[in-house]
């Protein structure tokens, strides 16, 4: 299978006032198209940092990130934004919907900025499939945590991105909602042939993935 993403010996350091924190220390990783990868590890081990690097939200200190044969670590901020816009979906632990946009608007925004027609209609259909038919015109503050996260997942997959990044998406949810969310992620990433990188603490969820990577002190073990 052709690899979608390749991390080549990447390092990430944070400079604080008087010290240098090495967060990622030489990670090498290959992820194929359509592949599911679970990322596990203790809190503070560097999982989120890794996700941010892949999303192009953080710059590597050294090393290369190859996405679809392009070295995106050399991209400018605007090029990275464009890449995210078209090819990467992100799901956060704390959902993060735009507060003064309705559920429908939060999802259709992704289609609109990619100039895809019938954005509202397509978004409404997907939210319907997610069991949110009656919630389309609700604002995030009027939705439960589980509902908010379903909207967030709909937002991340509606464009059939090449890559979905999910950082502990069920971390703030009860077990029932948590299961529902993860199933949605698996189902739709498979259906769209999207690769999925899923950070989780839940061993049972990790086991369902094609591959499990464990991070410790900024390194893969």
């Amino acid at each position: 299978m052709k690899s979608l993403l390749e991390l080549q010996d990447i390092y990430l350091n944070y400079k604080t006032e008087n010290s240098l924190v090495e967060v990622i220390k030489g990670v090498n990783l290959k992820i194929n198209s359509g592949e599911n990868v679970a990322v596990v590890g203790k809190s503070g081990s560097g999982k989120t940092s890794l996700i941010m690097l892949i999303a192009g939200l953080e710059k590597v200190t050294s090393g290369k990130i190859i996405f679809e044969d392009q070295d995106i670590s050399a991209y400018s901020e605007d090029e990275l934004a464009d890449l995210r816009k078209r090819k990467i979906g992100i799901v956060f632990q704390s959902f993060y919907l735009i507060p003064n946009y309705t559920a429908l608007e939060n999802v259709s925004l992704v289609l609109e900025i990619n100039k895809i027609e019938n954005a509202q209609k397509k978004s409404a259909e997907l939210l319907d499939q997610f069991g949110l038919k009656d919630r389309l015109n609700h604002f995030p503050s009027q939705l439960s945590g589980g509902e908010q996260q379903r909207v967030a997942i709909a937002r991340s997959i509606i464009l059939s991105p090449k890559l979905i990044l999910a950082d502990e998406p069920s971390g703030n949810l009860d077990s029932e909602n948590s299961k529902l969310i993860i199933q949605l992620l698996f189902k739709y990433s498979k259906q769209n042939n999207s690769s999925l990188i899923l950070v989780t603490h839940d061993q049972s969820i990790a086991k369902e993935c094609d591959k499990i990577i464990e991070i410790k002190d900024g390194k893969i073990i």
Binding site: A55, L57, D78, R84, I88, Y96, I98, N100, E105
Partner: protein, 838 residues
């Protein structure tokens, strides 16, 4: 390269605007008020000038006017002019009107206008009864007085009033006349027919009667100007006035006034800008999650910035349009007042240039303050979404930003300097404004710097106050800046207004005489003085001979051919002037150049007002030609004097040598200051001297003061808006800060610090800001008002404490009340909801 205008982005901007306009209500309010005021000023200026131009013929009274400089027109010339159209000749004359011939008669100093049957050529006379004007022509010895005289004397139609002891039958009263004569603007007047006027048998030397000749063309389209000019060439002392040069002084006044008020309103707008920046940055901070999410979804920073710019400029467009439309609608309200005071009715209309100016001012001010604010979006990191920590962002200055801001400031200054009649003052105004801004801002930073160094304060509220001021998110600089500018502006205007009024009033008790007497005949002069001395032996009486003279040539050239109407001393050439002579220089007219008259030289020597000499470019030893009783005499300028017309004593532009003047027939003018003013009875005086007119100085000054008061009130109202905007800015800043400190207040509450301590702390915090503001505001307003009074108006400045303190106290009280009200709901937060939500 992204497209500059993207409909999609615009849609997001509108969506966001419609959902969060409440959070930016301060922006909406302050922008609206300041744009509204500017719109009102510009619309009024435009409408007034338009009205003056449209009614120019009515105001002039004809298609053209022959200015004979106060001579009766030459008969031959008159016949030639008659071919162009109808001529209306009127005569104006200052005299006394009384309600009886007894010694206790009530008297009025009036302008008497004698009209022929053709008057008015244009416009209407508003009178009661409507046909009063025609009654005037048909009823023998009849008169129409102005409404005020009619009401004050409780006159009825067919009552009798007297002029020079001659009875006139009142046939009605006049509300307004179409040609706004200079004297009619705020003086009393009466109208008689030309025939009745002849019956008055005015036996003065004819020097102070104004003859006016207005012409209404038979055929509007003929190219009459050239012909009239050619005809008039043969009469060098005559000139022709056209409608477009009528009411020039009024236009000048409107220009100056509206320019000044526009500058005040732009200051208000700049103060609003401070609030806009502060509100906008807190708005962006409230939206940081949305912004971070958008960035994570693939929006570039520049796209997000663009959305915010769309938002603010859409808002600006709507607000400026609304403000302008509302201003147009409110012009009729002001109109009612204008009709009363100026007799001019204005109409409002939408003028695209004015709207553009309003919009551009708003655009530039908003740009100045939004550039560093919206650029702060740069600082919002989408990585916060992973870590759940959001740093509030701060004003963001890049080189590009700073140069754009400077460009916007320059454009703003140019926008106002461009169509200003006095660009220098406009630029000065902005310069001073920005210097005050910088000083206030610098002072606030200095205070913060020193307060940070103070460590041990025992008194808890004081400690809290100092903590608040030195806190990194402090609103101290904003408070100092916005309130400081408003207070400085208001205080400066208070001081200017006070000094103005004082200067006018102070001349009454000290130097100014109680009465002016005019038209004293040569033959009755001694008797006149004797009468006054008998009346009050301590009376100080000054008499000066006068004769009417017209300055027709300067160095043998007609000055009207090269001196423009906008020359400050044009009035000297416009009509005849009263000139006098004296053996010694007047004691309050110091000679600045040359020597007093050579008594042995019998040829004409002239001593001229130094300021006029400078304006008209006349030097010592230049030749001036004066026309006296129709004879042109050439003389030499032998001295220049500094003349101060404000002291209301007898002042003359030109004085001539007594050795030359000795044989000229002349009248006298006199001033008198009585020891015991009430002993002087005008009625009794007029019984004896029916040709002499008396002017009571305090009456005259009362009218001037009344007008100055009205102007003063208008100026204060407009400048108060700067303070209101300043207060709004502070309120919103306080709310923003209070919201941030809810959590802190909660902790204080848990720690057992009660809210009275917190209230005391806010009061102390306010006092520290306010005292520093007062310090700066007082210094600058003293400087500014001193400059305006001494340098521009050349008056004497002095400090006024009571009104100034009142202004400061009032603003201070209102501010502290506002601050406490805005703080109050955040002072005692409920513990539970906060603990639960964290």
């Amino acid at each position: 390269m992204e497209k500059l205008f993207n409909f999609q982005d615009f849609k997001y901007a509108i969506r966001d605007l419609t959902r969060s306009y409440k959070k930016i209500s301060t922006i909406i309010f302050t922008l609206f008020i300041s744009l509204f005021v500017l719109s009102v000023i510009l619309s009024l200026e435009y409408s007034l000038k338009k009205e003056l131009n449209a009614n120019a013929k009515i105001l002039l009274g004809g298609d053209f006017e022959i200015n004979t400089r106060n001579e009766k027109v030459d008969d031959q010339y008159f016949k030639k002019i008659e071919k162009f159209g109808i001529i209306s000749s009127t005569v104006e004359f200052s005299t006394m009107l009384t309600n009886s011939t007894r010694s206790d008669a009530k008297t009025f100093f009036i302008r008497l206008k004698a009209i022929d049957q053709k008057y008015p050529l244009y416009g209407d006379v508003q009178s009661f009864p409507d046909k009063a004007l025609s009654l005037l022509q048909t009823t023998k010895n009849s008169i129409v007085v102005n409404r005020k005289i009619f009401e004050t004397l409780k006159l009825k139609v067919n009552d009798t009033v007297y002029i020079k002891q001659t009875p006139f039958k009142v046939v009605g009263y006049i509300e307004s006349v179409p040609d706004l004569g200079r004297a009619l603007l705020f003086g009393d007047f009466a109208v008689v027919s030309t025939n009745s006027f002849l019956n008055l048998n005015i036996n003065t030397l004819g020097s102070f009667i104004n003859y006016e000749y207005r012409v209404k063309l038979n055929n509007e389209n003929i190219n009459f100007k050239q012909e009239v000019e050619n005809l008039t060439k043969n009469y060098p002392s005559y000139s022709v006035r056209y409608p477009e040069n009528s009411s020039n002084n009024l236009k000048k006044l409107i220009d100056n006034f509206s320019q000044f008020l526009s500058l005040v309103s732009i200051s208000a707008m700049l103060i609003a800008g401070i609030g806009i920046a502060n509100t906008l940055i807190s708005f962006i901070n409230q939206k940081n999650i949305s912004i971070a999410i958008m960035k994570s979804l693939g929006f570039t920073t520049s796209t997000i910035k663009k959305i915010f710019y769309f938002e603010i400029f859409t808002l600006l467009t709507i607000i400026s349009l609304l403000a302008y439309l509302l201003a147009i609608l409110s012009v009729p309200i002001v109109n009612a007042y204008l009709v009363k005071t100026l007799g001019i009715a204005v109409q409002s209309e939408f003028i695209i240039q004015n709207f553009i100016k309003v919009f551009l001012s708003g655009f530039l001010v908003v740009s100045i303050f939004c550039l560093p604010t919206i650029s702060a979006i740069q600082q919002i990191k989408p990585t916060s979404l992973f870590r759940n920590v959001f740093q509030p962002c701060e004003f963001y200055f890049t080189k590009k930003n700073i140069s754009l801001i400077i460009l916007a400031i320059i454009s703003l200054i140019l926008l106002f300097a461009f169509d200003s009649k006095k660009p220098f003052y406009t630029i000065m105004y902005f310069l001073v404004f920005f210097i005050i801004c910088l000083t206030l801002y610098g002072l606030s930073k200095l205070i913060i710097f020193y307060l940070r160094k103070i460590n041990f304060i025992k008194f808890l509220p004081l400690r809290l106050a100092v903590k608040n001021i030195t806190n990194p998110k402090t609103i101290f600089p904003i408070t100092v800046l916005s309130l400081g500018l408003g207070v400085t502006l208001l205080l400066s205007l208070t001081l200017i207004g006070y000094n103005f009024k004082k200067e006018v009033q102070k001349s009454i008790p000290e130097i100014a005489p109680d009465y002016f007497f005019v038209s004293i005949q040569n033959t009755e002069k001694d008797e006149f003085v004797k009468y006054l001395k008998n009346n009050d032996k301590n009376a100080v009486i000054e008499t000066m001979p006068i004769v009417s003279a017209t300055l027709t040539k300067i160095n043998k050239k007609d000055p009207l051919s090269y001196i423009k109407q906008n020359n400050d001393s044009f009035w000297v050439l416009e009509r005849d002037r009263r000139i006098s002579w004296s053996n010694t220089p007047p004691k309050d007219n110091p000679i600045t150049e040359g020597n007093w008259f050579d008594a042995n030289n019998k040829s004409l020597q002239i001593s001229l007002d130094a300021k006029v000499a400078k304006d008209l470019n006349i030097k010592l030893n230049d030749s001036l030609t004066l026309k006296i009783y129709g004879r042109e005499i050439e003389g030499k300028v032998t001295s220049l004097r500094k003349v101060d017309y404000r002291d209301l004593s007898i002042n003359f532009v030109m004085l001539i040598n007594p050795s030359f003047a000795a044989n000229i027939p002349h009248e006298y003018i006199a001033t008198a200051k009585f020891k015991n003013l009430p002993d002087f009875k005008e009625g009794a005086f007029l019984q004896k001297f029916k040709n002499i007119s008396t002017i009571k100085v305090s009456d005259y000054l009362g009218k001037v003061t009344e007008i100055i008061n009205k102007i003063f009130i208008a100026v204060i109202i407009i400048s108060s808006i700067a303070v209101i905007i300043g207060l709004t800015v502070i309120s919103s800043a306080v709310i923003v800060q209070a919201r941030l400190s809810v959590y802190q207040n909660l902790i204080f509450k848990i720690l057992g610090i009660n809210s009275s301590n917190l209230i005391l702390a806010s009061i102390i915090e306010f006092l520290i800001s306010f005292l520093s503001i007062i310090f700066i505001a007082v210094i600058f307003s003293i400087g500014v008002s001193y400059f305006v009074i001494e340098a521009i108006f050349k008056l004497n400045w002095s400090l006024e404490i009571i009104n100034s303190s009142f202004v400061l106290l009032f603003i201070g009280t209102v501010t502290i009340i506002l601050i406490l009200l805005n703080n109050y709901k955040f002072l005692s937060p409920k513990v539970y909801p906060l603990v639960r939500n964290e």
